[in-house]
Protein backbone atom coordinates (compact mmCIF):
# COMPACT_ATOMS: atom_id res chain seq x y z
CA UNK A 1 0.00 0.00 0.00
CA UNK A 2 2.86 2.38 0.81
CA UNK A 3 4.20 1.43 -2.57
CA UNK A 4 0.96 2.41 -4.21
CA UNK A 5 0.89 5.66 -2.26
CA UNK A 6 4.42 6.44 -3.38
CA UNK A 7 3.61 5.68 -7.01
CA UNK A 8 0.48 7.83 -7.05
CA UNK A 9 2.08 10.75 -5.19
CA UNK A 10 4.91 10.68 -7.68
CA UNK A 11 2.44 10.69 -10.56
CA UNK A 12 0.56 13.63 -9.05
CA UNK A 13 3.68 15.71 -8.45
CA UNK A 14 4.78 15.12 -12.04
CA UNK A 15 1.53 16.59 -13.26
CA UNK A 16 2.44 20.07 -14.43
CA UNK A 17 -1.20 21.12 -14.31
CA UNK A 18 -1.37 20.08 -10.67
CA UNK A 19 1.80 21.92 -9.69
CA UNK A 20 0.74 25.13 -11.43
CA UNK A 21 -2.98 25.07 -10.67
CA UNK A 22 -2.79 23.46 -7.24
CA UNK A 23 0.35 24.96 -5.74
CA UNK A 24 1.64 27.96 -7.70
CA UNK A 25 -1.78 29.56 -8.27
CA UNK A 26 -2.82 29.80 -4.60
CA UNK A 27 0.59 31.28 -3.73
CA UNK A 28 0.37 33.87 -6.52
CA UNK A 29 -3.21 34.76 -5.68
CA UNK A 30 -2.30 35.13 -2.04
CA UNK A 31 0.57 37.48 -2.81
CA UNK A 32 -1.57 39.42 -5.26
CA UNK A 33 -4.57 39.81 -2.97
CA UNK A 34 -2.49 40.91 0.00
CA UNK A 35 -0.08 43.28 -1.75
CA UNK A 36 -2.44 45.30 -3.91
CA UNK A 37 -3.29 48.38 -1.92
CA UNK A 38 -2.56 48.94 1.71
CA UNK A 39 -3.96 46.75 4.45
CA UNK A 40 -3.37 45.73 7.99
CA UNK A 41 -1.54 42.58 9.07
CA UNK A 42 -4.81 40.80 9.89
CA UNK A 43 -5.79 40.35 6.24
CA UNK A 44 -2.35 38.98 5.42
CA UNK A 45 -2.87 36.28 8.01
CA UNK A 46 -6.51 35.64 7.19
CA UNK A 47 -5.84 35.47 3.47
CA UNK A 48 -2.90 33.19 4.09
CA UNK A 49 -5.11 30.64 5.79
CA UNK A 50 -7.82 31.17 3.18
CA UNK A 51 -5.49 30.64 0.23
CA UNK A 52 -3.72 27.71 1.87
CA UNK A 53 -7.20 26.27 2.36
CA UNK A 54 -8.13 27.03 -1.25
CA UNK A 55 -4.98 25.27 -2.47
CA UNK A 56 -5.66 22.32 -0.21
CA UNK A 57 -9.26 22.00 -1.44
CA UNK A 58 -8.07 22.10 -5.05
CA UNK A 59 -5.40 19.46 -4.45
CA UNK A 60 -7.80 17.27 -2.49
CA UNK A 61 -10.39 17.40 -5.27
CA UNK A 62 -7.64 16.72 -7.79
CA UNK A 63 -7.29 13.23 -6.30
CA UNK A 64 -10.73 12.52 -7.74
CA UNK A 65 -9.58 13.74 -11.13
CA UNK A 66 -6.77 11.21 -10.91
CA UNK A 67 -9.25 8.44 -10.15
CA UNK A 68 -11.39 9.36 -13.13
CA UNK A 69 -8.30 9.34 -15.34
CA UNK A 70 -7.21 5.95 -13.98
CA UNK A 71 -10.64 4.52 -14.66
CA UNK A 72 -10.64 5.85 -18.20
CA UNK A 73 -7.26 4.38 -19.11
CA UNK A 74 -8.04 1.01 -17.50
CA UNK A 75 -5.41 1.32 -14.78
CA UNK A 76 -7.88 0.60 -11.97
CA UNK A 77 -9.10 -2.45 -13.87
CA UNK A 78 -5.51 -3.56 -14.31
CA UNK A 79 -4.99 -3.24 -10.55
CA UNK A 80 -7.98 -5.51 -10.02
CA UNK A 81 -6.16 -8.38 -11.70
CA UNK A 82 -3.15 -7.98 -9.43
CA UNK A 83 -3.20 -9.34 -5.87
CA UNK A 84 -4.09 -5.85 -4.56
CA UNK A 85 -7.56 -5.71 -3.00
CA UNK A 86 -10.02 -2.99 -4.02
CA UNK A 87 -9.98 -1.78 -0.42
CA UNK A 88 -6.23 -1.22 -0.55
CA UNK A 89 -6.63 0.73 -3.76
CA UNK A 90 -9.28 3.03 -2.30
CA UNK A 91 -7.37 3.61 0.93
CA UNK A 92 -4.19 4.18 -1.03
CA UNK A 93 -5.94 6.77 -3.16
CA UNK A 94 -7.36 8.57 -0.14
CA UNK A 95 -3.92 8.67 1.47
CA UNK A 96 -2.53 10.02 -1.79
CA UNK A 97 -5.01 12.86 -1.50
CA UNK A 98 -3.90 13.58 2.03
CA UNK A 99 -0.25 13.75 0.97
CA UNK A 100 -0.76 15.86 -2.11
CA UNK A 101 -2.60 18.62 -0.22
CA UNK A 102 0.58 19.33 1.73
CA UNK A 103 2.58 21.19 -0.95
CA UNK A 104 -0.17 23.80 -1.39
CA UNK A 105 -0.61 24.34 2.35
CA UNK A 106 3.11 24.57 3.02
CA UNK A 107 3.81 26.78 0.01
CA UNK A 108 1.19 29.37 0.96
CA UNK A 109 2.21 29.36 4.62
CA UNK A 110 5.83 29.82 3.54
CA UNK A 111 4.84 32.75 1.35
CA UNK A 112 3.01 34.26 4.32
CA UNK A 113 5.90 33.84 6.71
CA UNK A 114 8.80 34.60 4.40
CA UNK A 115 7.40 37.16 1.98
CA UNK A 116 4.47 38.79 3.74
CA UNK A 117 6.05 38.81 7.16
CA UNK A 118 3.23 37.03 8.97
CA UNK A 119 4.40 36.31 12.50
CA UNK A 120 2.99 33.39 14.47
CA UNK A 121 4.33 31.27 17.29
CA UNK A 122 5.92 28.00 16.29
CA UNK A 123 3.02 26.00 17.70
CA UNK A 124 0.59 28.15 15.75
CA UNK A 125 2.35 27.49 12.47
CA UNK A 126 2.31 23.78 13.24
CA UNK A 127 -1.32 23.83 14.33
CA UNK A 128 -2.50 25.82 11.28
CA UNK A 129 -0.70 23.46 8.91
CA UNK A 130 -1.89 20.39 10.81
CA UNK A 131 -5.52 21.48 11.03
CA UNK A 132 -5.67 22.49 7.38
CA UNK A 133 -4.17 19.14 6.54
CA UNK A 134 -6.68 17.15 8.60
CA UNK A 135 -9.54 19.38 7.57
CA UNK A 136 -8.95 18.66 3.89
CA UNK A 137 -10.13 15.05 4.25
CA UNK A 138 -13.81 15.85 3.45
CA UNK A 139 -12.71 17.45 0.18
CA UNK A 140 -10.63 14.43 -0.78
CA UNK A 141 -13.74 12.32 -0.22
CA UNK A 142 -15.84 14.69 -2.36
CA UNK A 143 -13.22 14.44 -5.11
CA UNK A 144 -13.18 10.64 -4.90
CA UNK A 145 -16.99 10.59 -5.08
CA UNK A 146 -16.83 12.62 -8.29
CA UNK A 147 -13.96 10.59 -9.69
CA UNK A 148 -15.63 7.22 -9.19
CA UNK A 149 -18.97 8.44 -10.53
CA UNK A 150 -18.16 10.70 -13.47
CA UNK A 151 -16.05 10.50 -16.61
CA UNK A 152 -12.64 12.15 -16.74
CA UNK A 153 -13.80 15.36 -18.37
CA UNK A 154 -16.92 15.88 -16.28
CA UNK A 155 -14.89 15.15 -13.17
CA UNK A 156 -12.48 17.93 -14.09
CA UNK A 157 -15.29 20.42 -14.64
CA UNK A 158 -17.24 19.31 -11.57
CA UNK A 159 -14.17 19.53 -9.39
CA UNK A 160 -13.43 23.01 -10.67
CA UNK A 161 -16.98 24.17 -10.01
CA UNK A 162 -16.92 22.61 -6.53
CA UNK A 163 -13.55 24.18 -5.84
CA UNK A 164 -14.38 27.72 -7.00
CA UNK A 165 -17.94 27.67 -5.70
CA UNK A 166 -17.08 26.37 -2.26
CA UNK A 167 -13.98 28.52 -1.97
CA UNK A 168 -15.67 31.79 -2.86
CA UNK A 169 -18.81 30.98 -0.89
CA UNK A 170 -16.81 29.81 2.09
CA UNK A 171 -14.81 33.01 2.20
CA UNK A 172 -11.43 31.59 1.24
CA UNK A 173 -10.95 34.29 -1.38
CA UNK A 174 -12.59 37.29 0.26
CA UNK A 175 -13.51 37.65 3.90
CA UNK A 176 -17.20 36.91 4.42
CA UNK A 177 -17.51 40.20 6.30
CA UNK A 178 -17.75 41.70 2.78
CA UNK A 179 -20.77 39.48 1.98
CA UNK A 180 -24.39 40.64 2.37
CA UNK A 181 -25.98 39.36 5.53
CA UNK A 182 -27.99 36.52 3.98
CA UNK A 183 -24.96 35.18 2.13
CA UNK A 184 -22.93 35.33 5.30
CA UNK A 185 -25.39 32.99 7.03
CA UNK A 186 -25.24 30.57 4.10
CA UNK A 187 -21.47 30.73 4.14
CA UNK A 188 -21.29 29.55 7.71
CA UNK A 189 -22.75 26.21 6.71
CA UNK A 190 -20.25 25.55 3.92
CA UNK A 191 -17.46 23.07 4.60
CA UNK A 192 -14.86 25.50 3.23
CA UNK A 193 -15.81 28.27 5.66
CA UNK A 194 -15.53 25.97 8.64
CA UNK A 195 -12.39 24.44 7.22
CA UNK A 196 -10.70 27.87 7.08
CA UNK A 197 -12.05 28.69 10.51
CA UNK A 198 -9.96 25.85 11.93
CA UNK A 199 -6.86 27.70 10.76
CA UNK A 200 -7.90 31.28 11.41
CA UNK A 201 -8.93 30.66 14.99
CA UNK A 202 -5.56 29.08 15.75
CA UNK A 203 -3.77 31.92 13.99
CA UNK A 204 -5.35 34.40 16.40
CA UNK A 205 -4.58 32.16 19.32
CA UNK A 206 -7.94 30.50 19.97
CA UNK A 207 -9.01 26.89 19.83
CA UNK A 208 -11.36 26.08 16.92
CA UNK A 209 -15.01 26.49 17.87
CA UNK A 210 -17.10 23.39 18.45
CA UNK A 211 -19.47 24.56 15.72
CA UNK A 212 -16.69 24.51 13.14
CA UNK A 213 -15.70 20.97 13.98
CA UNK A 214 -19.33 19.82 14.06
CA UNK A 215 -20.23 21.32 10.67
CA UNK A 216 -17.06 19.99 9.08
CA UNK A 217 -17.64 16.52 10.53
CA UNK A 218 -21.16 16.45 9.12
CA UNK A 219 -19.80 17.38 5.70
CA UNK A 220 -17.15 14.70 6.02
CA UNK A 221 -19.83 12.09 6.70
CA UNK A 222 -21.90 13.33 3.77
CA UNK A 223 -18.96 13.36 1.34
CA UNK A 224 -17.74 10.04 2.70
CA UNK A 225 -21.10 8.40 1.99
CA UNK A 226 -21.10 9.96 -1.45
CA UNK A 227 -17.65 8.51 -2.12
CA UNK A 228 -18.69 5.04 -0.92
CA UNK A 229 -21.86 5.10 -3.03
CA UNK A 230 -19.96 6.25 -6.11
CA UNK A 231 -17.32 3.59 -5.58
CA UNK A 232 -19.92 0.84 -5.24
CA UNK A 233 -21.67 2.00 -8.37
CA UNK A 234 -18.44 2.02 -10.32
CA UNK A 235 -17.60 -1.50 -9.10
CA UNK A 236 -19.00 -3.13 -12.19
CA UNK A 237 -17.30 -0.84 -14.67
CA UNK A 238 -13.89 -0.32 -13.09
Amino acid sequence: MLDYLRLEVRRTLRDVGFVIGGVAMPVLMYLLFTNLGGDDGGWKTGAMVGMAGYGAVGSALNTGGGVAEDRAIGWLRQLRVTPMTPREVVIGRTLTGSVTVLPAILAVLAAGGLINGVRLDAWQWAAVAGLLWLGSVPFTLLGLGNGYRLTGQTTGVTNMVCNLGLSVLGGLWFPISLFPHWLRSVSQYTPTNRFAELGTSVAVGRAPAFGAIAVLTLWMLAFGSYAVLSYRRSGRTV
Binding site: D3, R10, R11, D15, I73, G74, R80, V81, P83
Partner: protein, 302 residues
Amino acid sequence: MTQTENAAVSFTGAVKTFGTVRAVDGVDLEIAAGETVALLGRNGAGKSTTISLLLGLDEPDEGTVWLFGAPPERAVRAGRVGAMLQEGRAVPRVTVQELVSFVARRYPEPMPVARALQLAGIPELAGRRVDRLSGGQTQRVRFAVALAGNPSVIVLDEPTAALDVEARHAFWASMRSYARLGHTVLFSTHHLEEADAHADRILVIDHGRIVADGTGEQLKRAVGGSLVAFDLGGRSTAGLELLPGVRSVEVRGDRARLRSDDPDATVIALAELHAIRGLEVAPASLDDAFLALTAAPVKEAA
Protein backbone atom coordinates in the same frame (compact mmCIF):
# COMPACT_ATOMS: atom_id res chain seq x y z
CA MET B 1 -16.33 -33.32 -19.72
CA THR B 2 -14.37 -34.52 -16.74
CA GLN B 3 -13.39 -31.99 -14.18
CA THR B 4 -9.74 -32.47 -13.38
CA GLU B 5 -8.26 -31.09 -10.21
CA ASN B 6 -5.23 -29.64 -11.91
CA ALA B 7 -7.03 -27.77 -14.67
CA ALA B 8 -5.74 -24.21 -14.80
CA VAL B 9 -9.05 -22.93 -16.13
CA SER B 10 -12.46 -24.53 -16.00
CA PHE B 11 -15.87 -23.19 -17.09
CA THR B 12 -19.02 -25.19 -16.44
CA GLY B 13 -22.21 -23.97 -18.08
CA ALA B 14 -21.13 -20.36 -17.61
CA VAL B 15 -23.70 -17.76 -18.65
CA LYS B 16 -23.37 -13.99 -18.54
CA THR B 17 -26.11 -11.70 -19.78
CA PHE B 18 -26.12 -7.95 -20.25
CA GLY B 19 -29.72 -6.84 -20.56
CA THR B 20 -31.14 -9.06 -23.28
CA VAL B 21 -27.78 -10.05 -24.72
CA ARG B 22 -26.38 -13.40 -23.67
CA ALA B 23 -22.74 -12.43 -24.09
CA VAL B 24 -21.58 -15.78 -22.74
CA ASP B 25 -24.20 -18.43 -23.33
CA GLY B 26 -23.36 -21.71 -21.65
CA VAL B 27 -19.62 -22.12 -21.98
CA ASP B 28 -17.93 -25.34 -20.92
CA LEU B 29 -14.21 -25.47 -21.27
CA GLU B 30 -11.12 -26.68 -19.59
CA ILE B 31 -7.53 -25.59 -20.05
CA ALA B 32 -4.69 -27.62 -18.62
CA ALA B 33 -1.66 -26.00 -17.03
CA GLY B 34 1.03 -25.27 -19.61
CA GLU B 35 -1.26 -24.99 -22.63
CA THR B 36 -1.21 -22.04 -25.01
CA VAL B 37 -4.77 -21.49 -26.10
CA ALA B 38 -6.33 -19.02 -28.51
CA LEU B 39 -9.86 -17.80 -28.04
CA LEU B 40 -10.93 -17.03 -31.58
CA GLY B 41 -14.04 -15.17 -32.57
CA ARG B 42 -15.27 -12.14 -34.42
CA ASN B 43 -15.94 -8.86 -32.63
CA GLY B 44 -18.83 -9.22 -30.22
CA ALA B 45 -18.64 -13.02 -30.13
CA GLY B 46 -18.10 -13.04 -26.37
CA LYS B 47 -14.32 -13.16 -26.09
CA SER B 48 -13.88 -10.26 -23.72
CA THR B 49 -16.77 -11.30 -21.50
CA THR B 50 -15.33 -14.80 -21.27
CA ILE B 51 -12.03 -13.27 -20.21
CA SER B 52 -13.72 -10.99 -17.67
CA LEU B 53 -15.38 -14.03 -16.13
CA LEU B 54 -12.10 -15.89 -16.11
CA LEU B 55 -10.36 -13.05 -14.27
CA GLY B 56 -13.18 -12.54 -11.80
CA LEU B 57 -13.88 -9.03 -13.12
CA ASP B 58 -17.43 -10.23 -13.76
CA GLU B 59 -19.41 -12.99 -12.13
CA PRO B 60 -21.36 -15.54 -14.15
CA ASP B 61 -25.17 -15.37 -13.86
CA GLU B 62 -25.27 -19.16 -14.11
CA GLY B 63 -22.70 -21.91 -13.98
CA THR B 64 -19.25 -21.77 -12.48
CA VAL B 65 -15.84 -20.48 -13.44
CA TRP B 66 -12.77 -21.81 -11.69
CA LEU B 67 -9.15 -20.84 -11.82
CA PHE B 68 -6.83 -23.44 -10.34
CA GLY B 69 -9.75 -25.12 -8.63
CA ALA B 70 -10.97 -22.01 -6.83
CA PRO B 71 -13.02 -18.91 -7.62
CA PRO B 72 -10.99 -16.60 -9.90
CA GLU B 73 -10.76 -13.93 -7.25
CA ARG B 74 -8.80 -16.24 -4.98
CA ALA B 75 -6.31 -17.12 -7.71
CA VAL B 76 -5.91 -13.42 -8.50
CA ARG B 77 -5.28 -12.57 -4.82
CA ALA B 78 -2.77 -15.39 -4.62
CA GLY B 79 -0.83 -13.80 -7.46
CA ARG B 80 -1.28 -16.66 -9.90
CA VAL B 81 -2.74 -14.50 -12.66
CA GLY B 82 -1.36 -11.86 -14.95
CA ALA B 83 -3.44 -10.08 -17.55
CA MET B 84 -3.25 -7.68 -20.40
CA LEU B 85 -6.72 -6.25 -20.70
CA GLN B 86 -8.32 -4.84 -23.78
CA GLU B 87 -8.25 -1.08 -24.23
CA GLY B 88 -5.82 -0.50 -21.44
CA ARG B 89 -3.86 2.63 -22.24
CA ALA B 90 -0.55 4.02 -21.08
CA VAL B 91 -0.42 5.01 -17.43
CA PRO B 92 0.64 8.66 -17.45
CA ARG B 93 3.60 10.11 -15.58
CA VAL B 94 5.44 6.94 -14.61
CA THR B 95 8.50 5.34 -16.12
CA VAL B 96 8.45 1.81 -17.48
CA GLN B 97 10.74 0.69 -14.67
CA GLU B 98 8.53 2.27 -11.98
CA LEU B 99 5.36 0.77 -13.39
CA VAL B 100 6.64 -2.74 -13.96
CA SER B 101 8.43 -2.93 -10.63
CA PHE B 102 5.37 -1.60 -8.81
CA VAL B 103 3.20 -4.35 -10.30
CA ALA B 104 5.88 -6.98 -9.73
CA ARG B 105 6.04 -6.15 -6.02
CA ARG B 106 2.31 -6.88 -5.62
CA TYR B 107 3.07 -10.54 -6.32
CA PRO B 108 4.52 -13.09 -3.92
CA GLU B 109 7.15 -14.45 -6.30
CA PRO B 110 7.76 -11.93 -9.04
CA MET B 111 10.42 -12.16 -11.68
CA PRO B 112 13.16 -9.52 -11.69
CA VAL B 113 12.00 -6.41 -13.54
CA ALA B 114 14.91 -6.63 -15.94
CA ARG B 115 13.79 -10.15 -16.86
CA ALA B 116 10.22 -9.02 -17.51
CA LEU B 117 11.44 -6.19 -19.72
CA GLN B 118 13.73 -8.57 -21.55
CA LEU B 119 10.92 -11.08 -22.17
CA ALA B 120 8.72 -8.28 -23.44
CA GLY B 121 11.57 -7.16 -25.66
CA ILE B 122 11.90 -3.67 -24.21
CA PRO B 123 14.97 -3.64 -21.91
CA GLU B 124 16.08 -0.34 -23.43
CA LEU B 125 12.86 1.43 -22.44
CA ALA B 126 13.23 1.05 -18.65
CA GLY B 127 13.85 4.73 -17.95
CA ARG B 128 11.31 6.12 -20.42
CA ARG B 129 7.98 7.61 -19.45
CA VAL B 130 5.17 5.23 -20.39
CA ASP B 131 2.98 8.00 -21.82
CA ARG B 132 5.70 9.02 -24.28
CA LEU B 133 6.02 5.69 -26.07
CA SER B 134 4.65 4.54 -29.40
CA GLY B 135 1.57 2.31 -29.59
CA GLY B 136 3.64 -0.82 -30.15
CA GLN B 137 5.99 -0.01 -27.30
CA THR B 138 3.07 0.71 -24.95
CA GLN B 139 1.58 -2.64 -25.84
CA ARG B 140 4.77 -4.40 -24.88
CA VAL B 141 4.97 -2.45 -21.63
CA ARG B 142 1.50 -3.76 -20.88
CA PHE B 143 2.77 -7.24 -21.69
CA ALA B 144 5.68 -6.73 -19.28
CA VAL B 145 3.14 -5.61 -16.65
CA ALA B 146 1.14 -8.80 -17.23
CA LEU B 147 4.12 -11.08 -16.71
CA ALA B 148 6.01 -9.08 -14.07
CA GLY B 149 4.48 -11.08 -11.22
CA ASN B 150 5.63 -14.35 -12.79
CA PRO B 151 2.04 -15.67 -12.73
CA SER B 152 1.11 -19.26 -13.54
CA VAL B 153 -1.45 -18.17 -16.10
CA ILE B 154 -1.36 -15.14 -18.31
CA VAL B 155 -4.42 -13.83 -20.10
CA LEU B 156 -4.11 -11.52 -23.09
CA ASP B 157 -7.23 -9.88 -24.50
CA GLU B 158 -6.60 -9.02 -28.16
CA PRO B 159 -2.98 -8.25 -27.45
CA THR B 160 -2.05 -7.29 -30.99
CA ALA B 161 -5.00 -5.09 -31.85
CA ALA B 162 -3.67 -1.82 -33.25
CA LEU B 163 -0.14 -3.12 -33.78
CA ASP B 164 1.63 -2.92 -37.10
CA VAL B 165 3.05 -6.04 -38.71
CA GLU B 166 6.54 -5.67 -37.30
CA ALA B 167 5.34 -4.96 -33.76
CA ARG B 168 3.02 -7.93 -34.08
CA HIS B 169 5.87 -10.28 -34.92
CA ALA B 170 7.99 -8.97 -32.08
CA PHE B 171 5.06 -9.35 -29.72
CA TRP B 172 4.40 -12.98 -30.62
CA ALA B 173 8.06 -13.81 -30.31
CA SER B 174 7.94 -12.43 -26.76
CA MET B 175 4.78 -14.35 -25.97
CA ARG B 176 6.24 -17.63 -27.20
CA SER B 177 9.37 -17.26 -25.14
CA TYR B 178 7.18 -16.81 -22.07
CA ALA B 179 4.97 -19.78 -22.94
CA ARG B 180 8.05 -21.95 -23.41
CA LEU B 181 8.83 -21.51 -19.72
CA GLY B 182 5.84 -23.78 -19.06
CA HIS B 183 3.28 -21.10 -18.28
CA THR B 184 -0.34 -21.28 -19.30
CA VAL B 185 -1.28 -18.67 -21.86
CA LEU B 186 -4.75 -17.74 -23.05
CA PHE B 187 -5.12 -15.06 -25.66
CA SER B 188 -8.06 -13.81 -27.62
CA THR B 189 -7.91 -12.70 -31.20
CA HIS B 190 -10.02 -12.30 -34.29
CA HIS B 191 -7.08 -13.12 -36.54
CA LEU B 192 -7.15 -16.72 -37.71
CA GLU B 193 -3.50 -16.74 -38.68
CA GLU B 194 -2.50 -15.61 -35.20
CA ALA B 195 -4.52 -18.31 -33.54
CA ASP B 196 -3.16 -20.94 -35.91
CA ALA B 197 0.44 -19.81 -35.69
CA HIS B 198 0.78 -19.14 -31.97
CA ALA B 199 -1.58 -21.46 -30.10
CA ASP B 200 -1.45 -25.19 -29.39
CA ARG B 201 -5.20 -25.20 -29.31
CA ILE B 202 -7.94 -22.98 -30.69
CA LEU B 203 -11.32 -22.38 -29.08
CA VAL B 204 -13.73 -20.87 -31.56
CA ILE B 205 -16.38 -18.76 -29.87
CA ASP B 206 -19.50 -17.47 -31.56
CA HIS B 207 -22.62 -15.94 -30.07
CA GLY B 208 -21.31 -16.66 -26.61
CA ARG B 209 -20.78 -20.37 -27.22
CA ILE B 210 -17.70 -22.47 -27.89
CA VAL B 211 -18.44 -23.86 -31.33
CA ALA B 212 -15.14 -25.66 -31.91
CA ASP B 213 -12.16 -26.77 -29.90
CA GLY B 214 -8.95 -28.26 -31.29
CA THR B 215 -5.75 -27.61 -33.16
CA GLY B 216 -5.89 -25.63 -36.40
CA GLU B 217 -5.43 -28.92 -38.25
CA GLN B 218 -8.32 -30.55 -36.40
CA LEU B 219 -10.60 -27.62 -37.09
CA LYS B 220 -9.91 -27.82 -40.79
CA ARG B 221 -10.59 -31.51 -40.77
CA ALA B 222 -13.75 -31.13 -38.70
CA VAL B 223 -15.26 -28.83 -41.26
CA GLY B 224 -14.23 -31.39 -43.74
CA GLY B 225 -13.99 -31.42 -47.37
CA SER B 226 -11.97 -29.70 -49.97
CA LEU B 227 -13.38 -27.07 -52.17
CA VAL B 228 -14.27 -27.97 -55.75
CA ALA B 229 -15.34 -24.91 -57.70
CA PHE B 230 -16.23 -24.48 -61.36
CA ASP B 231 -18.16 -22.21 -63.73
CA LEU B 232 -21.69 -23.35 -64.37
CA GLY B 233 -21.85 -21.85 -67.83
CA GLY B 234 -25.61 -21.64 -67.57
CA ARG B 235 -26.03 -25.26 -66.48
CA SER B 236 -28.58 -26.03 -63.77
CA THR B 237 -27.36 -26.85 -60.31
CA ALA B 238 -29.88 -29.63 -59.87
CA GLY B 239 -28.33 -32.91 -58.82
CA LEU B 240 -24.92 -31.51 -57.94
CA GLU B 241 -25.42 -32.40 -54.29
CA LEU B 242 -25.88 -36.04 -55.36
CA LEU B 243 -22.41 -36.32 -56.92
CA PRO B 244 -19.97 -38.59 -55.08
CA GLY B 245 -18.31 -36.99 -52.04
CA VAL B 246 -20.30 -33.78 -52.16
CA ARG B 247 -21.51 -32.45 -48.83
CA SER B 248 -22.79 -29.05 -49.72
CA VAL B 249 -23.37 -26.86 -52.72
CA GLU B 250 -23.09 -23.14 -52.83
CA VAL B 251 -23.63 -20.97 -55.88
CA ARG B 252 -22.15 -17.52 -56.27
CA GLY B 253 -23.00 -15.81 -59.52
CA ASP B 254 -22.26 -18.37 -62.20
CA ARG B 255 -19.83 -20.32 -60.10
CA ALA B 256 -20.63 -23.45 -58.10
CA ARG B 257 -18.62 -24.19 -54.97
CA LEU B 258 -18.87 -27.76 -53.77
CA ARG B 259 -17.61 -28.95 -50.44
CA SER B 260 -16.41 -32.52 -50.97
CA ASP B 261 -15.04 -35.32 -48.82
CA ASP B 262 -13.63 -37.01 -51.90
CA PRO B 263 -12.58 -34.33 -54.37
CA ASP B 264 -11.09 -36.87 -56.81
CA ALA B 265 -14.39 -38.68 -57.17
CA THR B 266 -16.26 -35.42 -57.44
CA VAL B 267 -14.01 -34.16 -60.21
CA ILE B 268 -14.31 -37.42 -62.16
CA ALA B 269 -18.09 -37.22 -61.90
CA LEU B 270 -18.03 -33.62 -63.09
CA ALA B 271 -15.86 -34.61 -66.03
CA GLU B 272 -18.39 -37.26 -67.00
CA LEU B 273 -21.01 -34.54 -67.02
CA HIS B 274 -18.72 -32.37 -69.19
CA ALA B 275 -19.12 -29.74 -66.52
CA ILE B 276 -15.48 -28.77 -66.06
CA ARG B 277 -14.99 -25.08 -66.75
CA GLY B 278 -12.44 -23.04 -64.80
CA LEU B 279 -11.97 -25.87 -62.33
CA GLU B 280 -10.43 -25.14 -58.95
CA VAL B 281 -9.71 -27.73 -56.27
CA ALA B 282 -8.34 -26.57 -52.92
CA PRO B 283 -7.94 -28.09 -49.49
CA ALA B 284 -10.06 -26.61 -46.71
CA SER B 285 -8.45 -23.55 -45.21
CA LEU B 286 -8.75 -22.35 -41.67
CA ASP B 287 -10.78 -19.48 -43.05
CA ASP B 288 -13.26 -21.94 -44.49
CA ALA B 289 -13.35 -23.74 -41.17
CA PHE B 290 -13.97 -20.54 -39.28
CA LEU B 291 -16.69 -19.37 -41.64
CA ALA B 292 -18.37 -22.75 -41.54
CA LEU B 293 -18.24 -22.83 -37.75
CA THR B 294 -19.57 -19.36 -37.09
CA ALA B 295 -23.10 -18.76 -38.09
CA ALA B 296 -23.36 -15.07 -38.89
CA PRO B 297 -23.86 -14.02 -42.51
CA VAL B 298 -20.67 -14.01 -44.48
CA LYS B 299 -19.39 -11.30 -46.74
CA GLU B 300 -17.00 -12.79 -49.20
CA ALA B 301 -14.29 -10.89 -50.97
CA ALA B 302 -14.18 -11.66 -54.69
